[in-house]
Amino acid sequence: MNATGDRLSSLMERYARGEDRVFEQLYDLLAPRLHRFCLRLATSVVEADDCFQETFLRLHRARATYVTGANPLHWAFAIARSVYLTRLRYWRRRPEQLGASRDIAEAGELQAHDTTPEAEVSAQHLHATLACELGRMSEKNRVAYVLLKEENLSAREAAAVLGTSVEVVKQRAHRAYQSLKSALNSAGWSEYGNPV
């Protein structure tokens, strides 16, 4: 773990021992990436906000179960996914809205280097295509892709978070990648973000 990871781990350990006053610092370190992960899971901002709040609440209730030295972020990802799956099971009884997401997770990364109106429209189109395809694919493929490619977890770490084997995680992420590639090609983009 890096310095931030060590600090996060140390804060989580103190919080697990019952030191409520470290909650704010813990939240500051954990929340941005956790919220981004929830956005990827839920594909809509409202649902992601609910999932994020519920995840923090469950993390608080389960704080005594934290294992000293473990990565709190990975643990939080696993809880968030558990929360999302529970909500998904509930919503299965009703039609789920899987339209285009208001995905803000990649907005910063996808902005064009030049600021011509054409470039901005182009970047928005690329962004919308990616977000729409991510929202359309299965939750299993999407979350495997997000953990490996966006959150930069190793295959072993992602397998632990998802409760499956390394091979399965790699296979799911590859399927997601193929699906994104195919969607970009259909929309007239090359693999590297250039118009075909």
Binding site: A64, T65, V67
Partner: protein, 228 residues
Amino acid sequence: MATPSERLYPQVRSAVENTPAATTRTRTRILATLAIVPVLTTLVGLIASEWVYGQPAAGLGIDVASPSAALTTLALLAGLALASTLFALSQGRGGLGIAATWLVSIAALVVPVYAVLTVLQPLHSGAADDVAFTGVAISPWGWRCIFIATLVSASTMAIFAVALRRAVAAASGLRGAALGAAAGAWGGLAVFAFCPSGELQHLLVGHVLPIALFTLLGGVVLTKVIRP
């Protein structure tokens, strides 16, 4: 402009402040579990045997051709129960438990391993199934054994549930099944020490079937309790 996580902070903070959280660490609860479950199994096995057959551990004393083989099998079954429990309860270094393949292996292998150790080469000839031999009628369906296996396995499962309550963030279904299999193995151990029957039907229904049922039950019921 506030980021999404900053915008949500007041709501999260308020929810957290109004929600009580346990502070007894899971490691402590797991250690307590490892101390309680073997004692519980031994007590139930011995007391039930004394009550029904008039002697403790009747399964190891009545109609046994080879006492050393009986003790070896008992040790192997105890090892099976303990190993499956340790693996199923383990939180792993990352706090997310052991690998899913291990959990699948435990859930899938406990029943066949128990069956191989106790059914393929039964220690008893079947003479004890005759009421004249022990003075106790042993049901071919093993009702008494089912009751004892259920008593031990259900109590063990409840202890596991308390130990890992809200502690399993990933693969909770597999973990539940592995815990169910481990609980079933403790029930099987108690029944092995309790029962002197050598009838195949009795062994399959009264001794092996409860372990399989508790594996399934763990996958369904425990899952909901051990999730955060």
